[in-house]
């Protein structure tokens, strides 16, 4: 009998060891996810918590087809993602290449500088930039004054508010691209480049046909992380503009926060969370297919 138990334990020990991890997953990830799906199919208003009717997909329908602010937030989120991520990638890649060049002096200093924006909490970044962008006391308008440019109401004018948020995001997150791509570039094997040089390839050809394909998986991961992250943009915009003026800088995450934690429509907020999650998954899949990461 004892031998049988011991044999059983020996064979199934792996499963037993998995139990704690599965338990944690179940309680901290799977259960909240399933519960949030369940919640998204109900109307649950925290000010009247006893009222919990099942409404099916109504929360999703209302958001997608009837909610004006949701559509504006979706549009703004796409614009923000579509502008910021390519700019951050372009600038980041350029700076990363410059950092790899041995003829540039002070590379260590610049590398350290690039870490600084990343080390600042996004809320603090928002506060900092609120000062920088202040129409009267801000250093940006002060600088523009030397170029005879009239003061701009960066966060108070709907024409500039979204641009202001983009500027701040680019300032904060370009260094992320720089550091990730720099790490990728310096870890590339030297042999293919040397072989190309011997074969007479120019610097440009070496970059386009050898470095770029080799670093592509790292680019894909960096861009993907940024896309997923920027869709969740909240802290900076909350401090900088609160989504205004009007709805000029309303984004999906900010709107989700408002629905859930300001208005307490928990069912609707859960539905919006799932819409955001599905959106991120779709974007990630499209992106991965476009760059054909699996084949690289």
């Amino acid at each position: 009998m004892w031998i049988k138990v011991e044999t059983f334990l020996h064979k199934k020990a792996g499963y037993l060891l998995l139990v704690p991890a599965i338990a944690v997953l179940l309680f901290l990830i799977i259960y909240p996810m399933v519960y949030s799906i369940w919640l998204s199919l109900h109307t649950w208003y925290l000010s009247k918590p006893q009222w919990f009717p099942f409404v099916g997909l109504k929360n999703y329908y209302v958001l997608i087809f009837e909610d004006k602010v949701f559509r504006i937030a979706l549009f703004n989120t796409f614009i923000l993602t579509g502008v910021c991520v390519p700019v951050e990638f372009g600038l980041g890649f350029l700076l990363a290449i410059l950092l790899t060049r041995e003829d540039i002096k002070g590379r260590k200093f610049f590398r350290a500088c690039f870490v600084m924006p990343l080390a600042i909490t996004p809320i603090v970044v928002g506060v900092l930039w609120r000062f920088i962008l202040h129409p009267r006391y801000g250093i940006l308008n002060y600088g523009l004054g030397f170029l005879s440019i009239q003061p701009i109401q960066w966060v108070a004018d709907p024409r500039f508010a979204l641009i202001s948020v983009m500027m701040v995001d680019i300032w904060e997150w370009t260094p992320f691209m720089v550091l990730v791509l720099y790490a990728g570039l310096i870890s590339l094997p030297r042999e293919p480049m040397e072989a190309a040089k011997i074969d007479g390839a120019s610097g440009w050809q070496e970059f386009v046909y050898i470095s770029l394909p080799l670093v592509l998986p790292i680019i894909a991961v960096a861009v993907l992380i940024r896309v997923m992250d920027i869709i969740k943009m909240f802290d900076i915009v909350y401090v900088l503009t609160r989504g205004g003026p009007g709805d000029a800088t309303e984004f999906l995450s900010l709107y989700n926060f408002r629905i859930g934690l300001n208005y307490f429509y928990m069912g609707k907020a859960a539905a919006l969370s799932w819409i955001i999650a599905i959106l991120v998954i779709i974007l990630a899949q499209i992106f991965l297919r476009v760059v054909k990461l699996e084949k690289v």
Binding site: Y45, L46, S47, K48, P49, H134, P135, R136, P151, Q153, V155, A156, D157, P158, A161, T241, R242, G243, G244, P245, G246, D247, R258, L261, N262, Y263, F264
Partner: protein
């Protein structure tokens, strides 16, 4: 052997002492309080040891930022955990907290403490509580007490840190003979503290000398700032947001719950609000409250309209060029306002939105007697005169008690703040709609007002859109049945936005 016996003896004595100490600590009531992180509350926090010594009640203090406090409170209510015994509540949340059954009526405790609580079923003041009796308590300011705590005739909240907007102006600039002469030459009347919005506009225009100085500082920031500042103008015009005005929604009459924010007088008031924009510093469309004060204390504007709670910064000589030079006045009014408008509005008088916070008791509290003792002490009801004076002086604070505004030795009295503040509380006060969805109301109307302010929409378009969104909000909240379309509530409000005289 002796050593080990001695050791056992010492351990035994220590264990008995520890048991005794822990029993006595356990016997001491312990309450947890949740406050907003703000100077007045932190000032009170420093005085908590005095309360603990006086009443033998241990207080676990917690304070949190504005962005979090509502969420924390609602989470605690919904979970029925009773984590917090005493809670600081922003006054517009009363319908949500009391209506949701989350907070305890304070009346049994007040009566048991022998405090003077009366109800007047005839006079019904301030306008808005006319469906229910007016509540009087000791020397509490009646409109503040009723707007903060009167929920369907029962008292749920005691004002702790009331707030009202006042007109702050630079006495030295207004009294400058050169400025006075120039103003007279331009406008044909004496430069004076504006009593009407027309005068206010003239004075603001006169002092607008960009980029060094602007007429005054205010805000049309998204949500809270835009809606409250706009209504400070709109109320004197006689406009209001819902047909039920300053009162409560009527469960039986959905027409009484219809939005009227887009009334012609509401639109005119918004147009006037926007017409003041050229006299405000650039960027006010995104200002937070603190930035208004910053303009004023740095000398960039000679006037501002701001909450009373900002006075300590204004009178701080190390931070403010306006310290000791500031005058306090009630908000301007609109003498041409129609006479049959909102009850309680007198044409020509100015009105401010009521702000500020009170203290309430969590219904799930397990230490209600101790919680009441803390509430009554912290709101000044049972503080000694010396404690009360020290509290006011230390933080330049205010209170819901009339006594706080009439003690001549306080700094607030000496600079003139308390007298004006009390006048505002007594007769120049309006409140935001008494609905549980007040936070959402602020954002709906505040966003539309901001859109009009930055010229994304006309005033009419913005308020029409706000009315549609408010109607949807009222349907969601169950105040209007979904089969009842949006209509103008002609039974209660005339087509121009004035009240129907019944």
């Amino acid at each position: 052997m002796l050593k080990s016996r001695l050791l056992v003896l010492v351990i035994g004595v220590l264990m008995i002492m520890a048991t005794f100490l822990s029993t006595s600590v356990m016997a001491q009531p312990r309450i947890r309080v949740l406050f907003l992180t703000c100077p007045d509350a932190l000032n009170l926090r420093d005085m908590v040891p005095e309360f603990e010594k006086k009443f033998g009640i241990k207080v676990d203090w917690e304070d949190t930022a504005y962005a979090d406090i509502h969420t924390k409170e609602i989470s605690d209510f919904v979970a029925h955990s009773g984590r917090y015994d005493v809670i600081m509540m922003d006054n517009p949340w009363l319908p949500e907290f009391a209506g949701g059954g989350y907070i305890e009526s304070l009346e049994p405790y007040i009566l048991a403490a022998g405090l003077d609580l009366k109800k007047d079923y005839d006079k019904k003041w301030p306008p808005g509580v006319e469906l229910y009796p007016t509540i009087y308590l000791e020397d509490e300011i009646v409109p503040v007490l009723n707007f903060y705590g009167n929920w369907k005739g029962k008292l749920f909240c005691i004002p702790y840190m009331p707030g009202v907007q006042m007109l702050y102006y630079r006495k030295d600039i207004f009294n400058d003979p050169k400025e006075k002469a120039e103003f007279f030459a331009k406008y044909g009347y004496e430069l004076q503290v504006p009593k009407t919005w027309a005068q206010f506009r003239d004075v603001a225009e006169f002092f607008t000398r960009p980029p060094k100085m602007y007429g005054f500082s205010w805000s049309a920031g998204k949500g809270n700032m835009a809606v409250q500042n706009y209504y400070n103008v709109a109320w004197s015009w006689g406009a209001d947001c819902f047909a039920f005005g300053q009162g409560f929604p009527d469960e039986k009459d959905p027409i009484h719950n219809m939005p009227i924010c887009n009334s012609p007088i509401g639109v005119k008031a918004l147009e006037f609000f926007i017409s003041l924009k050229p006299f405000m510093p650039p960027g006010v469309a995104a200002y937070e409250w603190a930035e208004i004060t910053e303009d004023y204390i740095s000398g960039k504007v000679p006037m501002m309209i701001q909450w009373s709670v900002f006075t300590p910064q204004i009178e701080d000589p190390e931070r403010s060029v306006a310290a000791g030079k500031t005058g306090y006045a009630v908000l301007p009014g609109y003498p041409d306002a129609p006479i049959n408008n909102v009850p309680g509005i007198i044409p020509g008088e100015g009105y401010s939105s009521l702000g500020g916070w009170g203290l309430v008791m969590n219904k799930d509290s397990r230490h209600k007697e101790a919680a009441w003792k803390f509430i009554s002490w912290a709101t000044g009801l049972t503080m000694t005169d010396e404690e009360f004076f020290n509290y006011l002086e230390k933080g330049f604070s205010n209170s819901g008690r009339i006594k706080a505004y009439t003690m001549p030795n306080t700094r607030g009295y000496k600079v003139g703040r308390y007298q004006t503040e009390l006048e505002m509380y007594k007769a120049h006060l309006r409140r935001r709609p008494a609905i549980a969805e007040e936070v959402e109301y602020e954002l709906i109307v505040g966003t539309e007002v901001q859109k009009a302010f930055v010229e994304e929409k006309t005033a009419k378009q913005a308020l029409d859109d706000a009315a549609k969104s408010l109607y949807e909000l009222m349907v969601r909240g169950g105040y209007i049945p979904s089969d009842q379309p949006l209509v103008w509530p002609s039974k209660y409000v005339n087509p121009d936005g004035t009240k129907v005289v019944q």
